[in-house]
């Protein structure tokens, strides 16, 4: 029961309370650049969610199976060269950044090929955004957050399982979609407003994003309240 509650709270927290865009400021580039039109913003959000879920679970698997000290795969390989006591001490987390960026780049490439082959209409609607996603900080941020809950955690009971990693990455993407679609809706209306010349474009978008971030600050504390309500204490 507490496990399901934890997953639920991670999801709520990633999507609303600690929204990736408005709280952690990751994925700002597409948030400013691709938020002119609601349909395009929705396509971008959908593509990010898709890639983030895949990249998040891949990076969880790599971290758990290869990178952390005592990971099964590394222990198996090192077992041929070292004695077991040394083999469990191998810590490859220093390599994590390079590994993640490759995992993201290859999963983007793979997703692009898969969609082009099997869903041509979907490819037409968000295929152009896919290569851009490789350098989207939100994806790498999701991978790093997952890593921080898998590697270097003192209490073994706090180490995240795959379901928690999936919840974080999927709902992080949902949070990104919510933020970018709201922003696109506001910007469509903003076209009819009389904005001072120097504030046009990115500047007014940032100020609107600030107001939006203030609105999302209203969710602060919802998670602890929910935890009390769900677990009764």
């Amino acid at each position: 029961m507490t496990y399901i509650t934890d997953i639920f709270l991670i999801a709520i927290s990633a999507a609303l309370i600690n929204n990736f865009v408005l709280y952690y400021f990751v994925g700002i580039c597409p948030f400013i650049g691709v938020s002119r039109n609601v349909d395009i913003a929705f396509g971008m959000g959908f593509a990010v969610t898709f890639v983030m879920t895949i990249a998040g679970s891949i990076s969880w698997a790599i971290t758990t199976l290869v990178l952390v000290p005592g990971a099964p795969f590394t222990r198996f390989i090192a077992g041929f060269f070292l004695d077991p006591g040394q083999a469990v001490q191998i810590d490859l987390t220093t390599l994590s950044y390079i590994v993640y960026i490759f995992a993201i780049a290859s999963s983007v490439q793979f997703v692009e090929m898969y969609i082009r082959k099997f869903f041509p209409s979907l490819y037409k609607s968000f295929g152009v955004f896919l290569p851009l996603i490789t350098t989207n900080c939100a994806i790498l941020f999701a991978c790093l957050t997952i890593m921080s809950h898998v590697a270097g955690v003192e209490n073994p009971a706090d180490v995240w399982g795959l379901s928690k990693a999936l919840a974080l990455s999927f709902f992080g993407g949902v949070g990104f979609t919510i933020a970018i679609v709201i922003m696109a809706g506001i910007r469509e209306e903003l076209d009819f407003c009389d904005v001072p010349e120097c504030l046009q474009g990115a500047a007014i978008t940032l100020i609107v994003a600030g107001i939006l971030a203030m609105a999302f600050m209203g969710f602060t504390g919802v998670d602890s309240g929910l935890r009390v309500a769900l677990t009764g204490g």
Binding site: L22, Y23, Y24, F25, V26, G27, I28, C29, I32, T94, L95, Y97, I98, I101, A105, T134, T135, N136, C137, L140, F141, L144, T145, S148, P196, E197, C198, L199, A202, A203, I204, T205, L206, I207, A209, G210, I211, A213, M214, M217
Partner: protein
Amino acid sequence: MTAEPTAPERFIRGILPENPTYRQLLGLCPTLAVTNNMKSALTMAGAVLFVLFCANVMVSLIRNLLKPHLRIVAFTLVIAAFVTIVDRLLAAYMYTMSKNLGPYIPLIIVNCIIIGRCEICASKESVLKAASDAIGQSIGFGIGLSSIAFFREIIGTGMVFGTRVLPQIWPDWVIMILPPGAFFTFGLLLGSVNYMVNRKNTSIKNRDSMK
């Protein structure tokens, strides 16, 4: 762009006319995330300076070996290696700062400024030009970060570098060091920079039409 800019021109260009923060709007994630005090903003700028300098020099050295379709992957690999070095160095010598900056140091890997400079400048130019370009761009980035951090810290806490400069009576605007403050400050500063650039351009136009 007319003639190919020389090394000093590249250096100057990065600082003001093509400032990465205000004119090119690149690398926005750290610009907004680590600017709630001057110290972390300057550490971030230093980290970017190191990574951009090393990556630009390295890419410039291997520019003749790069295959066009693999160049972005090569850039990313080079950048990721240097970011790992910076991250380990910070964790070793500035532990609290590295804890404060948290994931934003590894996020330098996907910072568009660095990939952009590797693509635009380092992959075509000699080492000297690439190095001066890197230093100019990172100083420009540092100016961008510290201007935002200055206003956020002084309005939000009344302090600069942790020393109180405003009188105690100043009510701290806590919103300025929270996420919304980052958007407001950057939006308004960007607006004022645009205003000044526009005014300069119109005055040049007026002067030209008088002649």
